[in-house]
């Protein structure tokens, strides 16, 4: 059987993050916690961020969802950990452009595995799964700065 089309979505690295999520768990109470769900499908993520001196010191997540949403959360926490908040937000912008299929310059962002999710752009119904963790991060950072 050929799975060519599906293989562009479910790349090996995505499945690896889904099966072996990085940074799954919670953080101490002083960390920021933000829960976000996708009300149309039931995916739910709880994101914990420890921000010190405008830098993401720690990032962990809990929640339930499909392979794409959980792999995306795993990759995101890996990518933003240790990065300046400003870069984390730039990555989020990069990611959302990637979902729109826009050509863009990666500049000096350390994206880690997240580019493996590029294939999601071809599956419009799944974009919301991939962006859930990023939206949670943006909202958490926004709440922190207020």
């Amino acid at each position: 059987m050929s799975f060519n089309n599906l293989d562009t979505l479910y790349r090996q690295v995505i499945m690896d993050h889904y099966k072996n999520p990085r940074n799954r768990g919670s953080l101490s109470e002083e960390a920021l916690t933000l829960e976000m769900n996708n009300p149309t499908c039931g995916d739910r993520i709880q994101l914990h961020l420890l921000i010190e001196n405008d830098r993401v010191k720690e990032a962990k997540f809990e929640g339930e969802g499909c392979s794409i949403s959980l792999a995306s959360a795993s990759m995101m926490t890996q990518a933003i950990k240790g990065q300046p908040v400003e870069d984390a937000l730039k990555m989020s912008q990069y990611f959302s452009n990637m979902m729109l299929g826009k050509e863009q310059d990666q500049a000096d962002l350390e994206l880690g595995d997240i580019e493996a999710l590029q294939g999601v752009a071809k599956f419009p119904a799944r974009i919301k799964c991939a962006t859930l963790a990023w939206k949670a991060m943006e909202k958490a950072v926004d709440q922190d700065s207020n």
């Binding site: 799975f3 039931g42 739910r44 969802g65």
Partner: protein, 406 residues
């Protein structure tokens, strides 16, 4: 039932999706529309479009005749006693909200109970939550059996003299459970409560006789029964509708209007403020004609045969959970072990097979099932055994694909 001929009436089905002929298994979300319905709406706009109940010109009269003719067709279709018991709404949600807001707020007070179940669609849950909050009434739930049915013993136990409203789905959109409305209505009435039925998954698939069911209100949507979106029906017993206040005010629903006060038209128009959903009603009438020619009993039998055929095959697959009772309407909610329903649905979609994945607007029921989401295949008059075979093969492929990557 000549399914081949029926399929030919649905132009949308005749297309390829992702390189495969479309298999549409999401009719519980919305059904496809036959040419007869599309043409009826088209013809209405081409020949008879006008506002109704006003003016004296000829096409206005034609539009009014079509609109009110549709009401008469609905009355016959659901066996209502009076035509004014048929209120056109935007859909099931609007219909239930009308009962909850108008009847509920006027008749409930602190200490009263509203009895529902945990299998309700959000549209038959949240309006009651809101009424409970506004009036001080409490919500009570009839417990579900392990297979997702309700027993009359539990109905008897839950409904008390304090119960004023019992609201329940005719057919569960997740479990396919067909609830014993007539028996529940008997218990409710004995305790002085009224019964509101969410018929969204009932009317499209089975003969509904509101007088035989003896329900007080029955709500349904056109778009799940071959009619367009944006048209639905609230049936209510005249005795209740007459004492209820409108919840939308404006043109069309008034009798006399003065600077400081106004009076309402009689039933059913007092509940239809604003220019009504005329083309929707025309489409609904055409859909009723279409389904009536096929025969609702035949539709029900056919869907149950197809569902049994599907379940037989699904049970051969290792690692599949099927939710709901044995005796069920034409839908199957399921999960593949270790594969999230979104992922299952994406694999099926890549094979041209459309199923629903998610919580199906029934989050409390997902909690009861102890899952976060499920996939659902639902059948209608145009589905075939070939569709089921393609679906089963698609699931095998999903299992193989996710088996490979893990």
């Amino acid at each position: 039932m000549d399914v081949k001929a029926i399929r030919a009436d649905f132009p949308l089905l005749n297309q390829e999706v992702n390189g495969h002929p479309l298999v549409y298994l999401d009719s519980s979300a919305t059904s496809q529309k036959p040419t007869q319905v599309i043409d009826a709406i088209n013809q209405y706009y081409r020949l008879n479009n006008s506002n109704v109940h006003r003016g004296v010109h000829t096409i206005g009269t034609r539009a009014t005749e079509q609109y009110e003719g549709a009401r008469e067709r609905v009355k016959q279709f659901i066996h209502a006693q009076y035509v004014e018991e048929v209120i056109f709404t935007r859909g099931t949600t609007t219909a239930i909200n009308l009962v909850a807001t108008s009847y509920g707020r006027a008749n409930l007070t602190e200490g009263d109970e509203i009895v529902i179940t945990q299998m309700e669609h959000h549209s038959n849950l949240i309006p009651w939550q809101q009424v409970a909050k506004a009036t001080g009434a409490t919500l009570k739930f009839i417990p579900l059996e392990d297979d997702g049915t309700v027993t009359l013993a539990n109905v008897e136990k839950t409904i008390t003299q304090a119960t004023k409203i019992v609201a329940i789905a005719h057919v569960s959109n997740v479990l396919g459970t067909i609830n014993p409305i007539k028996e529940i209505a008997e218990v409710a009435h004995r305790n002085g409560a009224i019964v509101v039925v969410d018929g969204a998954q009932g009317v499209p698939h089975m003969k509904v006789d509101v007088q035989a069911l003896d329900c007080d209100f029955y709500a349904f949507s056109g778009h799940k029964m071959c009619a367009p979106t944006g048209i639905g029906v609230l049936y209510g017993k005249k005795v209740w509708l007459e004492q209820m206040e409108p919840i939308e005010f404006g043109g069309e629903m008034i009798d006399f209007v003065d600077l400081y006060d106004s009076t309402w038209k009689e039933l059913p128009w007092k509940f239809e403020g604003g220019t009504p959903i005329i083309s929707g009603a025309v489409g609904l009438a055409a859909a009723i004609d279409y389904l009536t020619v096929i025969g609702l009993d035949q539709i029900m039998t056919y869907e149950q045969q197809l569902t049994a055929y599907a379940i037989d095959q699904l049970e051969q697959i290792d690692g599949i959970d099927i939710y709901g009772p044995k005796k069920r309407a034409g839908l199957i909610t399921f999960n593949l072990t270790d594969v999230h329903p979104h992922d299952t649905a994406t694999v099926l979609d890549s094979e041209g097979i459309a199923v629903r994945a998610g919580h199906h607007c029934a989050q409390p029921l997902m909690k009861w099932l102890n899952v976060t989401a499920t996939a659902r295949a639902s059948f209608y008059i145009y589905n075939t055994e070939d569709d089921v075979d393609r679906f089963v093969n698609g699931l095998k492929k999903a299992k193989e694909f996710f088996g490979d990557v893990f």
